[in-house]
């Protein structure tokens, strides 16, 4: 068994010698940089597209809020009566709070 182990070990060594480190082709570096640039550009264009989608979504949301949501809130008065009316009503009636919701004029 040990003998086989040793033989296998020497076969690994022979294999290492039989497969020396190859030299890179002359195109290796230019091609590598071309691939890096291509990946960089695709990442940038993806980010740009994503940013554009975000900008469009933000503008749409702003438009919807300014034309539909905010005006609808502005049209609804919070109180039906003024502060002076409330004070008057409070003096004359115990149910002063009813003025607030418009039950008493």
């Amino acid at each position: 068994m040990n003998n086989m182990d040793d033989k296998l070990q020497s076969l690994w060594t022979e294999y290492r010698e039989a497969c020396p480190d190859p030299d890179a082709s002359p195109d290796f570096m230019p091609e590598m940089w071309r691939r890096i640039d291509a990946r960089r550009q695709s990442a940038t264009s993806w980010f740009r597209r994503w940013a554009e989608v975000c900008v469009v979504a933000a503008i749409t949301a702003a438009l919807v809020m300014s034309t539909v949501v905010i005006p609808s809130y502005l049209r609804q008065p919070v109180y039906e009566a003024s502060y002076v009316d409330v004070l008057n009503a409070a003096e004359t009636s115990a149910d002063g709070m009813a003025v607030l919701v418009g039950d008493i004029e």
Partner: protein, 187 residues
């Protein structure tokens, strides 16, 4: 380390010239490892470029320049493994093609000594690739890194990010399988 930490640090900060120097320093070694892992010389450059491409885009994740080499080996192993999975072909077939091609090259060459030496090398390559065909792609890569590339268990631990005992068990099993195939070939 084949380069100074400072050069790796510069490359990590986005200095393309520094990155170029790092690639040039490690290129030959990495291409050699890839050649022995995938066993197909015509694709070595392609896989090598993929390794350095992955390195370029992951350098910012490198915690410290001291772990650069295991990091680079990890990228190499992953790229080689991805390649082997894509190919889905057993390496012994590829190596048979290679040896035939090299024998033809050797025949064409005038020197008889060169021919004999190249034929011997081709036979060794073919034999080892055939033996490694008895284990899975993962174990084939692990065994090659340990036995052929000469990585220590500590280095393999950093490459694979698993503990030493798990690696020892896996290596032992893979080695036993190869040894069994080797013994039956010897008989």
């Amino acid at each position: 380390m084949l380069v100074e930490f400072e050069l790796i640090e510069r490359a990590r900060r986005g200095d393309d010239a520094a990155f170029n120097q790092v690639v040039q320093a490690y290129r030959k070694r990495i291409l050699g490892t890839i050649a022995r892992l995938i066993g197909r010389p015509e694709d070595v450059d392609d896989v090598g470029q993929e390794v350095f491409l992955r390195l370029y885009f992951s350098l910012d994740q490198l915690r410290a320049p001291e772990v650069f080499e295991p990091w680079l080996y990890r990228l190499t192993v992953n790229a080689a493994y991805d390649y082997l999975r894509r190919q889905k072909r057993r390496p012994e077939t590829r190596m048979s093609d290679l040896s035939e091609q090299q024998v033809m090259m050797a025949d064409a060459a005038a020197g008889g000594k060169f021919q004999t030496e190249e034929t011997r090398r081709a036979k060794i390559r073919e034999r080892v690739q055939s033996l490694l065909g008895h284990v899975s792609e993962e174990d084939r890569i692990l065994l090659t890194l340990k036995e052929v590339e000469g990585l220590s268990l500590k280095e393999l631990e950093q490459v694979y990010k698993v503990n030493e005992n798990a690696l020892k068990v896996r290596l032992f099993r893979a080695r036993q399988r190869v040894l069994k195939a080797f013994e039956s070939e010897e008989k």
